[in-house]
Symmetry: D2
Subunit: 339 residues, 4 copies
């Protein structure tokens, strides 16, 4: 079976998911929808993706730009089995009724509230929960980072308590209107919204997240302190556990990856699409174990980390793979994540 996928919204997440769908052997990208002409709209046509005018977009504007348009988003929906909604935060919900009335399955992103979907999703954690579902929500970038790590630590060692400080990037590289330019902004809500979001997937995860925003565009960094129930002998065991798990990359000490700029330089050097880093990034030097107390840093690439999760969500919803491992294996192979 080949699932016909349409992507509504062709910005930071949408364009990446579209590229990823186009690489899957069991999926077909039937189109992408965008509301105005731009270099990103042109990218769609350059790639041969059918381009549809979404939202309140105007066909004339696309024509004036010389962009070939295949129709309206409504028309796109008719040819799809599933929509990946990658519209801006809160807009996805506005489309919910439309997707439902068109009897379309739909995937929402983490900017929507959990009740927009039947289940919140992260492939390493609860693939099976999304099997056959009609509406699935892929949790946000920070939550994906937490839940992936939780999947490893819970299964192997048990988690008694987890404190995480999320040092969030202020804006994506092209979000040039967002700040701050200079300063640190605490998030006063405690725990931050990432805690209940992670608990949509692991309801009993004993985590408390705190968040601050800092003036950088590259990646988030999580500072984690986890009290393990059945601690291993050494930090090396933990490092090995992460290395054995898909969607984790642990840098060696001698690689001299000082921080997030070097992480993305590594991605650039290795010809990752868009210089993205879709894996959770850890450092050997940044994993410390003292008795049951595990401290580790992880860096999360906000632009791309949820992309493979969207692909696996599609596969689960249409039961295209035998299990999570099988889906992840295909996704990671096609996206170049198995190096």
């Amino acid at each position: 079976m080949t699932v016909r996928v349409a992507v509504n919204g062709f910005g930071t997440i949408g364009k990446r998911v579209a590229d990823a769908v186009a690489k899957q052997p069991d999926m077909k990208l039937v189109g992408v929808a965008k509301t105005r002409p731009s270099f990103e709209a042109r990218l769609a046509t350059d790639r041969g993706y059918p381009l549809f005018v979404g939202g309140a977009g105007k066909l004339e504007e696309f024509r004036a730009a010389g962009l070939s348009v295949a129709g309206t988003a409504d028309e796109m929906f008719q040819n799809a089995d599933v929509i990946v909604d990658a519209t801006p935060d809160k807009v996805g919900r506005e489309y919910l009724a439309k997707y439902q009335s068109a009897h379309l399955k739909a995937i929402f992103q983490g900017g929507e509230k959990p009740d927009v979907a039947e289940v919140s999703f992260s492939a390493l954690a609860n693939y099976d929960a999304a099997r056959g579902k009609s509406r699935v929500r892929v949790v946000s970038c920070n939550t994906t980072g937490i839940v992936r790590a939780a999947a490893v630590l819970r299964a192997r060692y048990g988690v008694d308590r987890w404190d995480a400080t999320l040092i969030r990037r202020a804006a994506d590289p092209t979000e040039t209107r967002k700040g701050p330019v200079n300063g640190i902004l605490p998030t006063f809500q405690f725990p931050s919204h990432h805690t209940p979001d992670a608990q949509t997937i692991f309801p009993d995860l004993p985590i408390a997240t705190t968040a601050v925003v800092v003036p950088t565009t590259l990646m988030h960094v999580h500072v984690n302190h986890v009290r393990l129930r059945r601690p291993p002998a050494s930090a090396a065991d933990v490092i090995a556990a992460f290395r054995e798990t898909p969607r984790f990359h642990v840098f060696h000490s001698w690689e001299r990856i000082e921080g997030t700029p070097q992480v993305l330089e590594y991605a650039r050097d290795h010809a990752a699409p868009r210089s993205d880093m879709m894996k959770n990034v850890l450092w050997e030097d940044g994993v410390h174990l003292n008795g049951a107390d595990l401290h580790f840093f992880q860096a999360i690439h906000q632009e791309s980390i949820v992309v493979p999760e969207n692909i696996d969500a599609i596969r689960a919803m249409f039961d295209l793979a035998a299990d999570a491992s099988a889906s992840i294996a295909v996704t990671d192979l096609t996206l170049g994540l198995r190096a």
Copy 2:
């Protein structure tokens, strides 16, 4: 005569103008208006400024914060001879009819279009043009910086042509929602709006301004190339001319003022109110003269440079001083700009 001044809006500009008014021997601050409680609203009451609730503000919110409120902005207007409008860009115009129907004189800031007032103003350039007027607009920070320098150069040397590249700060320090965080944004309009704005004061000024936005909060920097009509013998003459003029500060080479951070450090060290720098800032090392071609850098402190101009505008509108020099002398003495 003591002019009764009210300040509508108590943010970056309003709070500075209020402080400056409070220091003038010929003015009385009758109140400031703010729309919501905040640390800045508290500052007004700490200073003993009558605090009025402006715009759509709610009295209950102020009371809940324990702030003592003197009434509504409308009540404030009744006790004033002149309003300094320091509301956000474009909001001043909305107040125009109200000020007029109350027979109040009014000063607007550079964020409003020129036709909001009878005349656009900068004290060194056209003090007399504002004498007796009812509505005066103080030009914006960048334009003030240009016009001050133009006042010096035109009178002494004549200006045949002027190219200015304005390297603009992205946001004020507390505008934490504004970016960009990383990147340079050209302003494609050419010349930038600063050219016609400067020409509201010097209609024949042969200037062409170009603007870019960069990720800093401290000051703008202007890169100027002026072709002089009657060039002096050396850059030293130009430096002397600026040093002799009020509202210019020229740093010595040995002071090691590398850029805008050191300029504001100088202001901090010298106990300038709010660590502000209300003068145009130049560097000896940054003034070069080759024949008729003058190149110079100037740094412009966007938060404070228009403050003394607002004071002089009041004085001109009520004819409180014999001439520009007399007004500037009082303003600069009271604001600590005569060091």
Copy 3:
């Protein structure tokens, strides 16, 4: 008794300590030493502080800049009872022998290792330990922030465990050569050096600190999670405890202090010298108590927080005050910290 104080090094810390010494009723500033002419050297002479040429500085350079010099640092040392060493990190130790051979008491900053002095110091925590001592080290800005908070929490509630993530500013405002410009840099050493540094003062403090560096110049922010031994009834109790203690400032919710930029704007508005914030800064909204688990943010102004500590250290070394409270009261009154 009036203690004669000399300050060796007149940069970020030195100039602030000199200003603070000059305000003390029981101290006399006999001079400051600087190695090269600059706007900061000029500040010394503007303030009437005897200016001495320090380190490898050259008298001619000062003369060429028109700066009046009182002699060499060695001459300055002869007229002092105590030196506040505010030279760059690691340079203080190089002076140690010189101070000792001149039979001078000396205060070192936190950039030196603890063994440079007889005792490490923070006024709220161990004032008495510095009484009569000859060599005292004031702990660094981040450590001072931690130790002050520890002094409050230990005494009132007991501390069973403390995790702190220190989000460090990349550079001071005028350290224009330091980065990063864009990116987050974890400190891989765990615990970070702040843990043993805090334990120089509270040896049994069960704290584990983690540090990251982010691209801002304004303040550090600490994200704290403290397990209290004898927890109070509510967060309001903790807030009250901090408010009752000198050198803490807790912002109200309605003040809308979103982050470090607004904290320093508050200092600017209130005419704090150099717009400094010498107190630990907390937010009502940023203090949460769940059972014994206390979470709170605090912001630390790296440029100024140690200044009052240096003053109290002098007072302790010469036994100028009856006890810590008496010293702190004088220091805070003279520095404007009692508002």
Copy 4:
């Protein structure tokens, strides 16, 4: 003939030049030299480039990291016809004697002074001047940007005068120790060093460059004002001229490329190696012609713009192509610059 190329230094420039050499039909990459193990050293071995230990590097360190090393840089030199020196600024000159004694041709980067080589080089401007030479210097990134534009404008319209303000990025993305974090730093030398550097290639170019440094990592932006001798009818002609010339990219208005972040996003989207932009970047909206006065912005990607120039320099030195056009055609085809 296949020229054997070795690259000394495998950082920002070296790794890009190595990749580019490896793609040329008439060149063979015989090795790269690096002084210490790192993720970049590993990249060399991952790509199959023979890795040599350069400078004061230690073989043991590479072995400890599990990196396979082919020998020392001296050994690498023996198998090469030409060295591309991509060592840090000023280090290239230290190697000069070694290259000469080994009878090796050598290419230096713009961080070295012009007299390190027989000729300074930029392919569009003076390809023939490098034919058969033994030592060639590729001018720096900013100078390359200027000289490319000069090659277009001189030939077509003549240049009577050119003012350029260079708004320089503070640091490359991975230069995490460099600042400033917040502030604008003027370069007081006038004209800046880019003027004489451009004149190493066009000795009579009537340009005057001014430079400032701003806190961004992405790209430089040049603000240009050129007085043309034989101006065309409209800005559209100029835009067409740039579009017809290799190594220029002019964005359309409707593409909504607001600034340097979107330029690099375009490169990311189009799978440019390392998300680089090796062309001068202009904007239709940012080209203005008024009579003979041409104003235009161009963005210069400091990390990659000189890469094709290094390739063409090799080709000229060994006379591998009929002329500049022929060399550029091959270079641009292999590097993906002909889209």
